[in-house]
């Protein structure tokens, strides 16, 4: 009795216009589990073998803490550099017409396409004291290869596309009318950039810089060849993970990795929430 009543009272089912929700969502979730969630579970499982005290001991080891500092500072400086230079590059690619524009546009993706180890070796060779750039910089008394500066160079090289590719589409969609409106109201070029263009660009730029930052936190291949890897000076966190793996201390490696993972995730979530709020205001609620 009650079942039949339920059946008649059930809301009418609306057929979706777009087919395949079940199948596409199902397979997406399956692959996300396979390539993201499963390895992360493995990481947690590995770490779970340790007690909290051991865990704390491993992740606060003096050499490891020094590596955090090196990594975070280098990643921060590299992503700020990328924020400025990437914005400039995106601006040039969107706003001006010049011969070779397509080529430059394609070259932006090169750091993604190039194996990071190859990039690392190339950068190390270029910036070594007898390399093309290194020999010139040596005359000025600047050493890049095998110093923390080298880490910044490698990090910014591998992560610049993040900034360019997030800013570029937003810049393309800016309506020229808003800028023209600003100019007819008497604003200087700088005022137009600061008060009209930047506020629209800001979410994309921050996202790009944050992506660049998190990518730099975990960069390994490109950095180790140019860093010199001196303990307490130019050792990065991902190298510390590698070292623990070499010692077959898998739980310790996982523990350090979990720190990097948590920092990256927290940062990405925070940026996403901030951006959603900002955009809500821009496009109405």
């Amino acid at each position: 009795m009650s079942t039949s009543l339920n059946a008649t009272q059930r809301k009418p089912r609306h057929k979706r216009v777009l087919p395949g929700l079940g199948l596409s969502l199902g397979s997406s979730l399956f692959f996300i589990s396979l390539i993201l969630l499963l390895p992360m579970t493995g990481l947690v499982m590995q770490t779970a073998q340790m007690s909290w005290a051991d865990y704390w001991y491993v992740i606060t080891d003096e050499r490891v803490v020094a590596s955090y500092q090196v990594t975070v500072w280098a990643a921060l400086l590299a992503s700020i550099f990328n924020g400025v230079f990437g914005l400039l590059l995106a601006w040039v690619l969107v706003r001006y017409e010049f011969p070779g524009k397509r080529l430059l546009d394609a070259l932006v993706d090169l750091p993604f396409a190039l194996p990071t180890a190859v990039a690392g070796i190339t950068l190390a060779t270029l910036y070594a004291e007898n390399g093309w750039y290194g020999s010139l910089l040596a005359e000025l008394g600047i050493k890049v290869a095998y110093t923390p500066l080298g880490i910044i160079v490698a990090m910014s090289f591998t992560s610049i596309p993040f900034v360019v590719r997030t800013v570029q589409p937003v810049l393309e969609e800016l309506s020229p009318e808003e800028e023209e409106a600003g100019i007819t109201l008497g604003a200087s070029d700088w005022s137009v950039f600061r008060r009209i263009i930047m506020p629209s660009l800001w979410p994309a730029l921050v996202t790009g810089v944050a992506l660049s930052f998190t990518r730099s936190l975990g960069e390994f291949g490109a950095v180790i060849f140019i860093a010199g890897n001196m303990p307490y000076v130019s050792e990065i966190t991902s190298l510390m993970i590698f070292v623990r793996l070499q010692e077959f201390d898998f739980p310790a490696a996982s523990a350090i990795a979990s720190v990097v993972l948590i920092v990256s995730l927290v940062l990405l979530f925070a940026i996403n929430i901030w951006q959603a709020r900002y955009l809500k205001r821009l496009h109405g609620r």
Partner: protein, 365 residues
């Protein structure tokens, strides 16, 4: 402030957007630039603003030569077609923008800016929306904010690009009346672009009709309607029926159809007769003056009049003819779809075949 355009021209790549043209706009006048899309009206407006540079010619605001002056120094107010409000600023900040970017020397202080903004918002009757963001406003409200923003810096001239294009008919009419009142009150010189003839005729002191990059006619609305000086202006100003005629004795003929010329001397020439749809009477039988057989293809009672669509019977026209009848006339002699009727013009404008000049006005008694 008066605007004087002298020999302005503009080409984009190889496309001649504006042929050399001159135009004088008096102080306090409201001018409508009317034309179909691609006629160069928006280009002309942008050249006046300085958003586009002219290839030749000079522009003067009052006694000031602004030809080579940058947009930001011309002191114009510009209202964009899709408003171009700054999305990330509140309504009040949008209106204040022009004041806040002034040089430190000229810029009013904060309290003064706030007072001016509130005054402007009250003027456009939107004072209560100061804290809102543009995305929370309706189209008509956005338009009024855009106008307040443009007026904030007390511009010498106000330029509007299709100001009511994106609004629905009712709001458009309301805003049009409101803008007209505001103009009469403050007395700014303004130029607006439109493709809507009704809007141009209702709002402007003088209308500039443009086509293909040149000016066809500049006249006050009443004058423009009474004396269109070219076929283009005639066509553009609304529904008109064209009788493509050959001369035959004292008659204008086209296959089975003919019209007796009203001239005393009975002389005729080949050409085209333009008849406005409300200057066309319908009869059940041909008259002594006109034999224009037509078949009724639709009867549409629209507001105060009945619009009858007509197809020629035994002769040809390029477009369907229309007759606008008063309800009284229609009831005296109702017609139905499929009926044959005979049309007789009460007056018309005759363009001779060999000239591009002004038409001759014809009246039938």
């Amino acid at each position: 402030m008066s605007i004087r355009l002298d020999n302005i021209s503009k080409t984009f790549d190889k496309f001649q957007a504006l042929s050399p043209m001159s135009l004088n706009i008096e102080d306090g006048e409201m001018i409508g630039l009317l034309g179909p899309s691609g006629s160069g009206k928006t280009t002309l407006l942008r050249i006046i603003a300085g958003l586009e540079g002219a290839d030749s010619g000079r522009i003067q605001f009052g006694q000031r030569d602004v030809t080579n002056l940058h947009v930001r120094d011309r002191n114009v107010g510009f209202v964009f077609q899709n408003y171009a409000l700054f999305r990330h600023m509140t309504v009040a900040d949008n209106v204040a923008f022009g004041l806040e970017v002034m040089d430190a020397k000229q810029r009013p202080n904060k309290a003064e800016i706030q007072k001016r903004v509130q005054h402007l918002l009250d003027m456009v009757q939107l004072g209560h929306l100061a804290k809102r963001y543009p995305s929370q406003l309706s189209g008509g409200q956005k338009q009024r904010i855009a106008l307040a923003r443009a007026l904030a810096t007390k511009p010498d001239v106000l330029l509007l690009d299709e100001p009511f294009g994106a609004l629905d008919a009712k709001v458009r009419k309301e805003l049009r009346r409101w803008l007209r009142n505001l103009h009469d009150e403050i007395g700014f010189t303004s130029v607006f672009v439109t493709h809507d003839q009704e809007e141009a005729l209702e709002l402007s002191d003088r209308v500039v009709v443009m086509s293909n990059g040149h000016i066809e006619q500049v006249d006050a609305p009443a004058q423009l309607y009474a004396q269109p000086n070219s076929r283009f202006v005639f066509d553009f100003l609304g529904n008109v029926n064209v009788f493509d005629a050959a001369a035959q004795g004292s008659r204008l003929t086209h296959q089975d159809a003919w019209l007796e010329t009203p001239h005393q001397d009975g002389k005729t020439q080949a050409g085209q007769l333009y008849i406005r749809s409300h200057e066309l009477a319908l009869h059940p039988a041909p008259t002594t003056q006109a034999h224009l057989p037509l078949r009724v293809i639709a009867v549409n009672p629209i507001g105060p009049e009945v619009r009858v669509e007509l197809a020629p019977d035994g002769w040809q026209t390029e477009q369907v003819w229309e007759a606008d009848l008063s309800h009284a006339d229609y009831e005296r002699h109702p017609v139905q779809r499929g009926d044959q009727v005979f049309a007789a013009p009460t007056s018309g404008y005759f363009f001779t075949a060999d000239s591009q000049g002004s038409p001759e006005r014809l009246h039938w008694s």
